[in-house]
Symmetry: C2
Subunit: 306 residues, 2 copies
């Protein structure tokens, strides 16, 4: 087992245990015993969150904090809550993305999507609930100063909002069956998936008390890695087979989606992925070996086969 | 013009000017010039927010702060941003509630609902964006200490989430065509509309630096007023005519919805509204004349004819 796989497994166990705890018992001044009747929405929330996800964004939160802490210890409360918050946002976006009015997907990770397993209304409401839960979780991250907590809220809210993830989804829908240029493709990805990846790295850095200089370096890393993941995804869609990929190979072409290989050619797309890897590694040059998980993640972004 | 009407108009002008400013130009580290392409979602956001709404929740934010400040001055930044944030949450909930998969409404305030004026995907995304924008707005409320800002985030996130507004919507959907008892009806309303009304009052109090004792008293007020509004709504549905009401009278009965008059009888429902008014006024007994707008709002809740 490679070191990165161990890191991934460790982060998955850590985040899954935090997520389970978060999803356990709803406590609120407004609940007044309503818990039992809210069962269906809670079931949908659990179903959408505890779905065997890779937990890449939580891993980035932890790895970014490790890079900044450089061996120093700190309590893990704000890191774990940040990881939960960003995963809640990611999960809600998948639930809403799969809706019939959006991408209309019946399956996710081989299981019925939330609106298929429950119904459309429950899928909409459970997604809405998850977004609120993300910010509620950050409001409990009180092992760091309140000003840093507010910085977490700002980071996540900007990344999730209309000039972040939601804006990227809107661009993605608008681009379907449209010919987009390289700049437009990059803009769509930088919003739809890039914003939340940058937020994950920034939130880890905020929890660890990063300097401004460290935060800027880590943001350069996050931008490069986020895009590298996407470029390599597009390459895999062309080169890999459906069994290895775990989803339909060639789907992008079939759906007439713009991709990096389609716009650049396969060879230049591969060059671009390598350049992004180098950019990511260069951004980390002032960090010691405690940034190795981030470095391994950058390599993984452009070498994985699924 | 009554004094309350003047207060309402003043609050409406104040909040509409803040909302316009908030909705103007998207600024984000993630935008990178994407603003133009996000046009459709932004149009839908503007359409749903600048819709001539009564702005009852912003008014509660301002009136609650007035009661606590008792004539003292403070900057209005956190109050205005809190008022915007809670109105964003309210507006997003209406957009999602109107969707075909939910209440399937074509009209709101006499205008086509967002999914009718745009499309279902844009309605889902603009609602999602508004929720993120609410928390982003709170992250800029930096004229109060960060710890109080975090208290605002917590208050709004709890009120908007699964044991708040979203939970209430789930209960409302589950209760359609079902016979519910008085306790279940109150629980549904206390979550669906009550939670956000309590949050509005709490957020005004937090911005104004209320004592724990003041916050408890104001929360008693908010619970009573929130429920009084709902009981009187149900009475109006029975007693008023469609022209006065601005929506179809008797709609609750036609839709087979459980209401207070249906469960209690009309006379006892009216008694209940009066008792709630008294509870609201009693809760304010330790506040001076600066709480008069709150008092007038309580009277208004049970005397308005639409």
């Amino acid at each position: 087992m490679s070191s990165l796989n161990q890191q991934l497994q460790h982060a998955q166990q850590r985040i899954n245990s935090s997520l389970s705890a978060e999803l356990e018992a709803p406590v609120s001044p407004y609940s007044e015993g309503a818990g039992d009747n809210l069962g269906r929405v809670y079931q949908a929330i659990q179903y959408s969150v505890m779905n065997g996800g890779k937990r890449m964004r939580p891993l980035l939160v932890f790895a970014s904090a490790d890079a900044v802490l450089a061996g120093r210890k700190q309590t893990s409360k704000s890191l774990d809550l940040s990881a939960c918050a960003i995963e809640f946002i990611h999960c809600y976006s998948l639930v809403h993305d799969d809706l019939p009015a959006m991408d209309d997907d019946d399956l996710r990770r081989g299981q019925p999507t939330v609106h298929k397993a429950f119904d459309d209304a429950t899928a909409i409401l459970s997604g809405d609930a998850l977004q609120a839960m993300a910010f509620e979780a950050l409001s409990r991250a009180d092992d760091i100063p309140p000003a840093q907590q507010i910085a977490l809220v700002k980071e996540l809210a900007l990344a999730a909002g209309p000039v972040g993830m939601v804006g990227g989804q809107a661009l993605d829908i608008a681009a379907t069956d449209q010919r987009v240029n390289l700049e437009q493709l990059e803009q769509m990805h930088s919003l739809k998936t890039g914003a939340l990846i940058r937020a994950a790295v920034a939130m880890g850095a905020i929890c660890a008390g990063a300097s401004e200089q460290q935060r800027i370096a880590l943001d350069h890393y996050a931008r490069a890695v986020g895009l590298a993941f996407q470029v390599h995804d597009d390459i895999l869609d062309v080169e890999s087979d459906t069994t290895t990929l775990g989803k339909t190979a060639g789907a992008d072409i079939a759906l007439n989606k713009s991709t990096y290989p389609a716009l650049l050619g396969l060879s230049q797309a591969k060059d671009m992925a390598q350049q992004l890897l180098q950019q990511a590694l260069t951004a980390l040059k002032d960090f010691d070996e405690h940034a190795d998980t981030l470095r391994q993640l950058a390599h993984y972004a452009v070498t994985r086969n699924h």
